[in-house]
């Protein structure tokens, strides 16, 4: 099983020393390796597709317009209180502590300070301090002035899965106080709403995948995508809308201050700061593909780890009874190790890209340092101006750096969002709405030259022609692998024929509304799948409106009452993991009861009696006969005792219908394949 993690790059021999070793390492880090995915096998994203993913993410915001608008409004107002604080500090120092009168320094206060200046003007130092204290307190309560931002990120691990929780619910406000609290609440609910919408939609879409796809879709991967990939899309949306807006706002405010106080050097500083934007973008752009690739890999490896864990936990009975505990532990350990490694590979690429972006920013900073220090050396500016100018420069350079690196930073989230949209967009017949209604099946099912081939090319059915009528109990019989289950899957459109037509009451099954069709067809599976809920809830899954009486009747018919009566809470007993607290035979009976409870026109039972003892089986077959009076009952069976009671028997072999007829008719035909089958099955002569 470990071979599924095959990494071709690692196997590459390093013959020619250093260079090919480096190449092999590059291939290893950046190569697209095969993990567990069988559906989503082309995870590479082109630049155009990345833009598409970003566009999709932005559109998500429309689903929480109110919260988003509120968040932006809160954030916008929150920018301004901070502007007052340095000037207030100056008043406190100059006019209160040092007791200087107003107006002796040349610095002119910005106009927005006028109200505060009016309030303190003409007071004695202690009076000034009192006024300032009152204003400080007001700012503290409302905006948390001088107490910092509001946020409540939890600690997280060193892998994407554990970081997802903060992505959904982290929340942040740049101010504190009541305002910060309100903004924080809006922010958390905003990201949560968007994540919830998206993961709900993804979950819904995954449950609607066609059966052939679901066969290849691992449960662990579904868990990973729904829980750990989805938060990245709202994150992406936030990063390309609100964040740049506030970055621009911050840059504008700094520009204003620069222009106001240092108009002379400002054009050159601004020019340098913003020249870094295209340069940082151009130099980091080549890494975007590598970053997407490594992030795809790390998430695929995380999925593979989840798969390994999910699989061995779900099948723990098999693992233990086959003595495979060590092996499964090793498999998990290897995958977990691999996923951690992949996390580090993505960090490695980030390091390279960040070094490049950092170098660009560094060169700009050096240029500015030389520029300003030259003026100071030449005596054009004073030493005190240096600190202020550098501070202002970073006020502009920081948003500029942000915009230069925005594309490269988005790539991580693009990789995750793509994994979400891949399945959210997966179109299938299952997701198609509408179609013709179907109230009740009155005639039956007809198959006309039906063929079916699985996506891997395996041909399961060829040229099947069949008439199944309401009021019949039909047995599908044939050797293992003859196509019985495939044939039965076609009726509720769990599979759709690749050639020919399946007609329900004369209407192509593909044209019928899927909800309506499945409501009229009940399928009881070979694998009796129960949910770890109460028996009642398991029954309600099939028919939420079923009355207590009908439930009891169905349980009685399927022979469940004798064991349910012994359970501590009877019908309300909660079953263990996939029903494992019951024996397999009991699980099977319960599955059958669930099937009987649905009031549908067609009932299909796939090997319903395999695990039943003869007594229960006979009861069941008798009640199936009763049920077949006003519906079509199809039974797939190997046991003669079940088969021989059918009205008609359809004998399948190698995907073709060989014989159709009643037991007696087919037995009378010396050449029938069915007769040969029966003789082998009984291995005895005492049958009627």
């Amino acid at each position: 099983m470990t071979e599924t993690l095959a990494t071709p790059a690692r196997a590459a021999p390093s013959r020619n020393g250093g260079q090919s070793k480096t190449l092999a390492l590059l291939k290893e880090v950046l190569g697209r390796n095969r993990f567990d995915d069988r559906i989503d096998t082309q995870p590479d994203v082109t630049t155009a597709q990345a833009l598409g993913v970003i566009g999709r993410s932005i559109r998500l915001i429309a689903e929480a317009k109110g919260l988003f608008a509120a968040k932006v409004a809160f954030g916008f107002v929150a920018v301004f209180p901070a502007l007052f604080l340095p000037w207030m500090a100056k008043i406190l120092v100059d006019n209160a502590i040092l007791g200087q009168p107003f107006g002796i320094t040349a610095v002119s206060y910005p106009p927005f300070m006028d109200p505060i200046l009016g309030a303190v003007y003409g007071r004695d130092p202690l009076g000034i301090a009192m006024v300032l204290m009152v204003i400080y307190f007001a700012l503290l309560i409302v905006f948390g002035g001088r107490s910092g931002a509001t946020g409540a990120g939890l600690l997280e691990g060193r892998d994407a899965a554990t970081q997802a929780e903060n992505q959904i619910s982290g929340g942040l406000s740049r101010v504190g106080g009541v305002w910060g609290l309100a903004e924080f609440m809006v922010h958390v609910r905003l990201t949560q709403t968007l994540s919830n919408r998206l993961r709900a939609r993804l979950f819904d879409r995954l449950t609607h995948l066609p059966m052939t796809v679901l066969d290849d879709q691992r449960a662990g991967d579904s868990v990973y995508r729904v829980l750990y990939d989805t938060p990245m899309a709202p994150d992406l949306a936030y990063r390309v809308t609100s964040e740049p807006f506030f970055m621009l706002l911050g840059a504008a405010l700094n520009l204003y201050i620069l222009q106001y106080s240092y108009g002379e050097v400002s054009p050159e500083l601004v020019w340098v700061a913003w020249a870094a934007v295209p340069i940082a973008f151009i130099t980091t752009f080549p890494f975007s593909g590598a970053l997407r690739r490594t992030n795809q890999n790390k998430r695929a490896a995380g999925s593979a780890t989840t798969n390994a864990m999910e699989e061995s936990m779900s099948s723990i009975a098999a693992v233990q009874s086959l003595g495979a505990g060590e092996q499964e532990k090793a498999r998990f350990a290897e995958r977990s190790q691999e996923s951690f490694l992949r996390e580090r590979y993505s960090i490695a690429v980030i390091i390279v890209a960040a070094s490049v972006a950092g170098a660009v920013g560094g060169i700009a900073a050096i240029y500015v340092t030389i520029l300003v220090s030259d003026r100071i050396i030449d005596g054009v500016m004073t030493v005190g101006d240096f600190a202020v100018l550098i501070g202002v420069y970073y006020g502009i350079a920081e948003p500029a750096g942000y915009f230069g690196a925005i594309w490269i930073k988005l790539q991580e989230t693009v990789a995750a969002a793509r994994r979400v949209f891949f399945f959210a967009d997966y179109e299938s017949d299952e997701t198609r709405q509408g179609g013709r209604p179907l109230a009740r099946v009155t005639e039956g099912v007809r198959m006309r030259t039906v063929g079916f081939a699985y996506p891997d090319g395996h041909r399961a059915l060829t040229g099947v022609n069949l008439d199944l009528r309401v009021g019949e109990l039909v047995a599908l019989v044939g050797p293992t692998g003859a196509g019985k289950t495939t044939l039965a899957y076609l009726i509720p459109a769990l599979l759709r024929p690749t050639s020919g037509r399946v007609l329900v009451d004369g209407v192509d099954a593909g044209d019928i509304d899927l909800d309506a069709l499945r409501r009229q067809v009940t399928y009881v599976f070979q694998e009796h799948l129960l949910l770890p809920e109460s028996i009642r809830e398991n029954l309600e899954l099939a028919n939420p409106e079923a009355s207590e009486e009908r439930m009891m009747a169905a349980l009685e018919t399927a022979g469940c009452m004798d064991f349910i009566a012994q359970l501590p809470d009877g019908i309300d007993t909660v079953l263990g993991r996939s029903g494992d607290t019951l024996s397999v035979g009991q699980q099977q009976r319960l599955s059958i009861a669930r099937g009987l409870l649905r009031d549908s026109s067609i009932l299909i039972l796939d090997e319903p009696t395999a695990a039943l003892d003869p007594q229960t089986e006979n009861q069941l077959v008798a009640s199936l006969h009763q049920a077949a009076e006003d519906r079509l009952v199809v039974v797939i069976a190997h046991r003669l005792s079940t088969i021989r009671n059918a009205d008609r028997i359809v004998f399948l072999d190698e995907g073709r219908v060989r014989d159709i007829g009643s037991h007696d008719e087919l037995m009378a035909d010396r050449a029938s394949a069915y007769r040969e089958f029966v003789e082998l099955q009984g291995g005895e002569t005492q049958e009627s």
């Binding site: 409540a152 958390v188 996390e343 580090r344 769990l494 899954l541």
Partner: protein
Amino acid sequence: MEPNAESEALSLIAGYGDRADVDAPPMGLRRMVVLAWRTWPYIRPMLLHLIGLVAVMLAGGLTGLVGAFVGVDLFANKVLVGEKLQPLQATVLFVGEEYVTTDPVKLAVEDDTAGDEDATIEPDLTKAQRRTVRNRLVIWGIVGAVFATAVGYVFWYYSTWIWQSINQNLRVAMIERAESLSLKFHDSSRVGDAIFRVYQDSAMIVNLIQSAIFSPLTTLYGLLTGIVIVAAFDPWFALLVLMVGIPTAYVIVKSTPRVRRRALANRVANSRLTSRIQEAFGAIKVVKANRAERRIFDQFDEDSKAALDAAYFLRLDMVLVTLVVAVLGTGLVIVSEYIMVGFVIENRETFAGALLAGFVGFVVWNYGAVQIAGRFVGNLSGSARGLLGIWMRMQDLFIALERAFYLLDLEPEITDPDDPVPFPAPVEDVAWRAVHFGYDADKVVLAGVDLEARVGTVTAIVGGTGAGKSTLMSLLLRLYDPGAGTVSVNGVDIRHMAVSDLRSNVGIALQKNVLFAATVAENIAFGTPDADRAAVEAAAGVACADEFIRAMADGYDTELGERGGKLSSGQRQRLSIARAVVRDTPVLILDEPTASLDARTEQRVLRNLAEWGRGRVIFLITHRLSTIRNADRIALVEDGRIVEHGTHDELMAGVAGRYRAFVDAETTGRAAA
């Protein structure tokens, strides 16, 4: 693309008052210490690296500090102001004697960044010299920045690797424990919960040292030095600080259990959500066939919202507590500024200023004193807030570790004896003696089973659904241990053998044909990883699976899909048999091996097995008469006991006739009761 199902919006406050439906675990300081201590075995393998990490951190910090000192002095005093250089500075900048200061005062006090008026007596550096110093300093700056960045990045990668490795140790230990827990545990716990514990809860170990040891220590240090320094300025001031500390401490102590409960609720809710998704996709076929997608979606949506609410309310509580403490702390800063302005105006003496008058000028309250004292009051408030933040996150951290160690603390019921006896070879007989067993105390499944099977025989275990047939066999694998009585091989109690030894000598083909999403060959060799291809093919031959496997697209290398979903159940069953056969064990159990096989295949498989089974002990659980009749012995299980035991002919002739009734029901297709 309009979604079929849509989730409703989340409310800003609704539900906040509802009490979380979990009880806060007892999590005193002592429990935290115990939990932290217990992580030691997982941290220890990386100890050397952790020490290396701390060394890099300290060395880097020190280098940075020295570099910054020298750099600031050079740039501010020498380049911008124009002072001459210290000798060592000239050396590292490769400039001549003419740059170096001759002022003895400056030479005695290295790196004194405060501009001293006397030093300006000697001629300043020329503009050209200042530019030279600046340019060479820039070059050093580049070298330093590149070096610091490189070290920083290596540190990032290296620390990630170390913490991931520690996390990996814990994860693997948890998985190992989960896999060794008896089925009794697994039957009543959810898969998603195990996933959540191994995945999410364990990850918190990576924050342990930083959050539970380093950060609290440094902030505590800041808090204590702050108090001392503030007290040095004015003891009344320190008293004020301590008085603000009282309501702060009260708020923190009062809110801690609440935060803890919210943290647990958050983890429980997210664990439930994980389980919900896992279960939905584990049983997706039934969901689809019953068109229950909507119902499953509603359940998912409910759990999803519950998880989001739990995350939100936890954070809301954290933010509220922080808000209260921030207002108290910053309020203190603001009030103290007002008081200090008063002090300055009245020229009040500082408490300890006179003692230190030799080198600092804070004998009375002045601007500098306000600056320094104000900064320390601010630090105090900041430290308190920092400590609160760490404290609250630590609650979540330890709740997570508690959940992780819960799994590790579960003792497997099935354990190896201290001094295991090897599995006897050659096997002569397998026997159950007066075996009692029940999954729950009040639900007896086996009530005194006596059964013996000798080598070279096939024993069919027959009986009604739920009679205890599979349970009887699972005792032989020690999936459970009997409540009373013994299961023995050659007279040796299997509890005296090592579990792995026992299980590698008893093969089983399960009734539920569990397959994995891997290739055919890997599925057959599951549990026998060292089986070569020839052995796998031979086993497939015995199970009559070789033919259909070869007909598949990639033969033995064909991928089987989720839970082996691409095979018919007869094919799955044969793979399951092949899997048991390839293990080549002296004891083999086949649970309903032929239920899904057609008659022809069944006969072939049974013939092959009879051939293959010479010299082995084989048990067959079955309902099918054609299978039963081929067995050497038949044991009929009813109500937890073996009621009839013998050959087909013997039992058919038996007086009680229970077996005969069973056979009649099978052959005539009528209810026989």
